[in-house]
Amino acid sequence: MTMPSTVLAPPDAGRQGNYAGGVTRLVAFAADVGASWGLFTLGVAGLGFAINLVTGKQVNLASRQILALIAIIIWEFVYFAYQWSLGGKTIGMALLGIRVVASDGSPITPRQAVVRTVTLPLSFLLFGLGFIGILLNKDRHALHDRLAKTVVVYSWDARAARLRWLAKQEPTTSV
């Protein structure tokens, strides 16, 4: 099995608007999980500190698991739904250069963002089979994409990245 040369080679074409692949989406989702958990932890710590400052009482969510679970679910919903409805991309998606759009390519509506957020857990609950469409379908639809009528595309200007890369090369080695 040989690795593709394009992995280490500079990006050779513009990819804006093309359907994003599974690896990029998976890495972006992992980044989002990390970002959302980090922000949640920071928020809880800040809130606990503020409550302790005002009332003098210690707040420990670990001892109130149901409350913590509800808080996490609400937070994750807000994290994804708000960012998708705002610009079609979360922090992780922005890092990886992808975004969510409607199936026809138009900007995602707030309703679609909410539906996509609510149905996202379904793709996990079906033993991950909801994600298999990203590999098999021609438009790389996951289950929650199909339900929300959305797709994920590259929003990254690979052509500009290639120009930046070329600009840093020695004149003799430039293509």
Partner: protein, 188 residues
């Protein structure tokens, strides 16, 4: 007659001067007493210094100066060693300097340059792996995907571009369709 008197007087004066020991005479003069009677301020006040300065050609003087020779004679290293650089640095308000100059912009620009470079590398590797996985899936399923759309039609084939292509079709060859070419590459 008058010339005769003048020549006699000149002769007499020369004889007197030859006979007098000037050095001995000067040695007997009390110069301090003489100078004490001289009003130097009055003399200086009568001198038009500005006029003298105006007559001096400074450029010509400067042109005659061999600056290189002067610099060669200066021990710069010795001067630098005498300067307390640490004290100078401590007296510099770095924050103010950054605010008032473009240093902040330069720092921000270089930082963002590094960040964007890292992002480019990560994204490029992500795209490469996407293509790699897509190729293997197609190979396993024994299918070709070259005729698949690269993306949503509004992004890949926007209405404006379609209109332009139709217009150009009447006058010449259509513009090269960039995205579909990439699609084939991405999904082959």
């Amino acid at each position: 007659m008058e010339q005769l008197v003048e020549s006699i007087a000149e002769r007499v004066v020369n004889l007197v001067l030859d006979a007098v020991d000037i050095n001995a005479l000067v040695a007997q003069i009390d110069m301090d007493a003489v100078l004490a009677n001289v009003d130097v301020d009055a003399i200086v006040s009568k001198v038009d210094v500005q006029k003298i300065i105006d007559r001096v050609d400074v450029d010509e003087i400067v042109a005659r100066v061999d600056v290189d020779a002067i610099i060669d004679r200066v021990d710069v290293q010795h001067i630098i060693e005498r300067v307390d650089v640490q004290e100078i640095v401590q007296r510099v308000d770095i924050d103010s300097l950054v605010e008032q100059t473009e240093l902040g912009t330069i720092i921000a620009r270089s930082t963002s340059g590094v960040a964007s470079e890292v992002l480019d590398v990560v994204r490029a590797q992500g795209v490469g792996l996407d293509d790699f996985v897509a190729r293997w899936v197609n190979r396993i399923l024994r299918r070709t995907s070259t005729d698949w759309p690269a993306g949503p039609f509004r992004l890949i084939d926007p209405p404006e571009a379609a209109t332009e292509a139709t217009t150009e079709a009447t006058t010449g060859p259509p513009a090269e369709a960039e995205a579909p070419t990439l699609t084939a590459e991405a999904t082959r």
